[in-house]
Symmetry: D2
Subunit: 128 residues, 4 copies
């Protein structure tokens, strides 16, 4: 697919650079768009939110796939009025594939206990 | 249902006041949580986002029902890489029912052309 | 001030109803707009975020005043790369005054330990 | 600075890859965290919001500098109750410097009229 935005980037940008960049954008976007969404450990609601994040965030440029699996561990059960949670730093589990030109990049969000941090990282870069 | 939070409110607060207040909170929350979500006029994606907003936002306190019908009028078609939109002020169509004690309140978000504004308003208050 | 939106509301809506409704909207909006903002316990940054929330959210209809005092208790110190937090449910302390016609309403967000919940409530309603 | 998260990335990741990735994350985060914030063309409010975005988003990992200059062109003047806007796709002007190891990357958000799109791109990559 022709990239009408390519001319705005520095000429030094190669396919690998670009796939990595777009993967980063979408991981940052997912996290900051949906954090704070009210949530309980109810499986139906969790599944609907996962599907909506996947469908909407895969519209982002050069994103081939988005897979979301919300971690329900600490989510409240919603049985009483105030017993619900919000999608927070420990609940995000995202897998994003960005593809640009000949390069595919696999990026993830995982809460890492050792860092007490929802780390965004790249676990695979492949060229065709 | 007993309300463990009632004591934090002023004693002047009656059921009507409270249902109106909770309805307002959830309308404001819907609008500011989901604005900016990437979107095209693709019906499947729109439907998934509607379902996710309904399921998550109905967890809010004293909310009986949330119905979302995204207005696709100005949404791009997503056929080219950068041809997508975001959920914005003209796309929200929300119907929220809050119920507290003996009172039900129906609140809405509608984009009002005359005001060029995504108005949140109450169109019905009923007591049982 | 004349209210061009009044006609969209049910005729039953009085000044008290409306001030309560607008107060709820803005409390819900504050919470869901800014939750997830990266933050440390650095006082300068906290103060800048408080000021920005106050200035922007007081643009909301019929809002007379917004006062934000972020609770820094559990915020990390930012001394190492991953040691920062996000504005979360325990950090919001908001005071919002809505005024409509003859009625003023004071609304708050406070994290209530007993409920483990960032409660939005109204602590004063006054008519002039 | 030692990077405690390095081991989670693929071994193929070099300094350039990483600086590009972190720059992308923060651009995506800025856009999706703050879109929807109520705003008028009032300079004081705009400046406060710019300062808050700069201060908070520069907490992100490996971000050296964040500069925000909101474009006020289409923002309403706030003189009447409903005459305000929200921070939207045409208003973001962001400059982010990410630095990892020996590499610095300059990333931007600019609304590009030709694309009708708030493009995130990299205009400089430099190694020391």
């Amino acid at each position: 697919m022709k990239d009408k935005a390519k001319k705005y980037f520095t000429d030094e940008m190669n396919d690998r650079d670009r796939a990595i960049f777009e993967c980063g954008i979408t991981l940052g976007a997912i996290y900051h768009q949906f954090q704070g969404t009210p949530l309980t450990n109810d499986e139906t609601t969790i599944h609907k939110l996962e599907e909506a994040i996947e469908a909407t965030m895969s519209k982002q440029p050069w994103i081939e796939n988005v897979k979301i699996s919300i971690i329900p561990t600490d989510l409240k059960n919603g049985k009483k009025v105030y017993d619900y949670s919000e999608l927070g730093r420990a609940n995000f589990k995202a897998d994003v594939i960005a593809a640009y030109g000949t390069v595919k990049v696999s990026g993830k969000i995982r809460y890492i206990e050792e860092l007490d941090f929802p780390l965004m990282y790249i676990d695979d870069i492949s060229a065709s």
